[in-house]
């Protein structure tokens, strides 16, 4: 584990370099990149994904995966839109969205933890199911008349600084998740579950409840992301947040979390989120369309995994040669 910890520290240093490189790339790509208004848009645009990346880190550390995050976010957006259509004030619609998201996450968690189904197929199924329910509820319609204060949550900034409000929401959640993951019994139990589920179970860790909890957290954070995203876009539709899973998983993996579970850190994920945010912003300024930007996201995901896979391969061979005991 310490060897893995050493590797992670070096990876986070590398991420800082990537962040600097992303800034350099952005500055070269466009003269507007370094403007305060652009920085705040870049950050605000990445916040919904960032918020979902927090519980996704926990899910992947457990050795599971959640591909349905985009659909849960869309479902929450649709639920809130339906509430608004029926005349409910936005203040009442938001708790409804939160409840819907948490329930959706609990369903995922129950299927994985208690029915024992693999998270891959459960979340593929709920990806379709939740998106379908959102479409049934909202069909082709969209809601876009949100109050001023709501929209400022999406892309409004604090005073004259380039700091968007949603960054504050994210910061609070980040601290909560980071403290949970690295500082509490339950959080560290997730690393044990990801490393060796049976051993964790025999150590007295309640594996089922932990897994249920991380999926529920994923659903709840999708609801928060739905609020921020609809505020940012000033629109709530049934196809909101389609394809959210890819950039979120890329951010988590780029942050140094092992895709097989058992190791990673919130700090790395934080850095990775910002690297991706600025790279995508720079690409957008350079004229690359959003549908084409996913090529870069996919390539980053593959490159990171190939890199980690290669280092694992090299260490395994080195371990055999030097007869050292390995962490994995």
């Amino acid at each position: 584990m310490r060897r893995l910890g050493g590797l992670l520290a070096r990876w986070e240093a590398l991420l800082v370099l990537f962040l600097i490189a992303a800034f350099a790339f952005g500055a070269v790509a466009s003269p507007y990149f370094l403007a305060g208004s652009n920085i705040s848009i870049a950050i605000a645009g990445a916040m919904p994904g960032a918020i979902v990346a927090l519980p996704m880190t926990l899910v992947i550390i457990c050795g599971e995966i959640d591909i349905s995050v985009g659909s849960i976010t869309g479902l929450c957006a649709a639920a809130m839109a339906v509430c608004l259509e029926h005349g409910l004030p936005i203040g009442a619609a938001m708790p409804v969205g939160l409840a819907v998201g948490t329930l959706a996450g609990l369903f995922n968690g129950a299927m994985v933890a208690y029915a024992g189904l693999p998270s891959l197929v459960v979340t593929i199924g709920t990806l379709a199911l939740y998106r379908g329910i959102a479409q049934i509820m909202l069909e082709e319609r969209g809601v876009s008349d949100f109050p001023e204060w709501y929209q400022s949550m999406g892309f409004g900034t604090i005073g004259n600084t380039p700091v968007p409000w949603c960054l504050l929401i994210f910061a609070v959640l980040l601290i909560g998740f980071a403290v949970f993951l690295h500082g509490t019994y339950w959080g560290r139990g997730l690393f044990a579950i990801g490393n060796n589920r049976e051993a964790a179970r025999f150590s007295g860790i309640d594996v089922r409840r932990s897994i249920l909890g991380v999926f529920a957290a994923s659903g709840a954070m999708c609801a928060v992301a739905a609020v921020v995203l609809t505020a940012y876009l000033a629109s709530a539709r049934a196809d909101t947040a389609t394809g959210l899973a890819l950039p979120v998983i890329t951010a988590v993996v780029l942050g140094g979390v092992d895709i097989f579970g058992g190791s990673g850190s919130m700090g790395g994920v934080l850095l990775a989120i910002f690297v991706l945010a600025f790279v995508q912003n720079a690409l957008g300024l350079a004229g690359v369309k959003p549908e084409e930007q996913q090529i870069v996201t996919g390539a980053v995901l593959i490159a990171t995994l190939a890199l980690f896979g290669a280092s694992r391969f090299v260490r395994a061979r080195a371990g055999v040669l030097w007869r050292t005991r390995l962490a994995r």
């Binding site: 189904l117 693999p118 998106r131 379908g132 479409q135 049934a238 890819l246 995994l305």
Partner: protein
């Protein structure tokens, strides 16, 4: 089908079938019964269903998903998954249509080979990531899904190629009838029979089941894991390439955003068709039946006048429901088998 589960009983000299083998036979029969039942329900509510022209439409709409599901079935049997199928179909469809637009004198055979070549190359990309770089298939194909789709969009540049600019015999591909059934349906049926036979009676096919059943044991038995994984992903790509070429013929227009949910449709067809998501069991015939079931369901939704938006939710519920059902049944069968073997040893 899978070799697991029967070896232990052979050592006890049981002549009777194991509980798991019985489960598998029930699965295929159950699918045919389910299909007939659904057809019956749809006919009762909307007799137009049995109309010759309607049945032909159902068969045609099942065809393309069925062919992709054949590849997806083998991938899932090998304990992998391929999420990039829709994007691979889109690229090969657009590339082939583009080629035919610029070289209308091309013979159809060469167009098919070209499309399959494009698909195979894309599948080789997946194969490289999974078999060589050892990236888990779920994230590898999630990434290639994005890369290939983005590439398709960049390639197309917003263009749509409609059948009017394509050579006549290309469009006729979708209209040729052999013995009253469309050519496309014959292609799908023949491919299903071919792959169904090959999965069971060739060494490569059985190796895929072994890999899916227990990769460790398969490796120790000397099965070339990277080779077989590469094979199955390239095969999936080839089939997607074929479907890409047929897509333009069937639907008339091709652009970069076709087949957006093909990965969901093919996975649900495969899962409903009885292929275990854990790998190692199930059959290609089941996947084909699953594709037909979904085509019938979709047709039913259209005939009943139900909102089309229900379809995606139905697909999701079907995936979850069948996986849950099969897992519960499989666990019960395993427990029964364990009890059988325990009592057989006289404890």
């Amino acid at each position: 089908m899978s070799a697991s589960g029967t070896a232990g009983l052979a050592s006890q000299g049981f002549a009777a079938e194991s509980a798991l083998a019985r489960l598998r036979r029930v699965r295929e029969l159950g699918l045919v019964l389910a299909l007939l039942l659904i057809c019956l329900c749809v006919t009762l509510r909307a007799p137009r269903f049995l109309n010759g022209a309607n049945l032909e439409q159902v068969a045609l709409s099942a065809t393309l998903v069925c062919i992709v599901s054949l590849g997806q079935a083998l991938v899932i049997i090998a304990r992998q998954i391929d999420l990039s199928v829709g994007a691979m179909v889109a690229i090969s469809a657009f590339a082939t249509a583009d080629w035919l637009e610029h070289f209308p004198k091309t013979r159809i055979v060469f167009a098919l080979l070209f499309g399959m070549g494009v698909g195979g190359a894309l599948g080789a990309g997946n194969a490289l990531l999974v078999a060589v770089a050892r990236i888990p298939a779920i994230v590898a194909t999630l990434a290639t899904l994005a890369i290939y789709r983005g590439a398709a969009i960049a390639l197309a540049g917003g263009r749509q190629i409609s059948a009017t600019v394509l050579p006549g015999d290309y469009q006729h591909l979708a209209q040729i009838h052999v013995a009253d059934a469309p050519l496309l349906v014959w292609i799908a049926v023949l491919l299903t029979l071919l792959f169904g036979w090959a999965a069971r009676y060739t060494r490569t096919g059985r190796n895929l089941y072994a890999l899916g059943s227990s990769p460790e044991s398969a490796r120790l038995a000397g099965i070339n894991e990277p080779g077989h994984l590469a094979f199955v992903f390239i095969l999936s790509g080839l089939l997607c390439g074929l479907v890409g070429v047929l897509w333009g013929a069937r639907f008339g227009t091709v652009d970069a955003v076709i087949a957006p949910d093909l990965h969901l449709q093919s996975i649900s067809a495969v899962v409903v068709g009885g292929v275990s998501i854990f790998g190692g069991s199930g059959s290609v015939y089941g996947a084909a039946l699953g594709a037909v079931i979904f085509a019938v369901l979709q047709n039913g939704v259209e005939l009943f006048g139900i909102n089309q938006f229900w379809l995606e939710a139905v697909i999701g519920a079907a995936i979850l429901g069948t996986v849950l059902l099969y897992t519960v049944l499989a666990r019960r069968a395993e427990r029964a088998e364990r009890e059988q073997s325990r009592s057989g040893l006289g404890r």
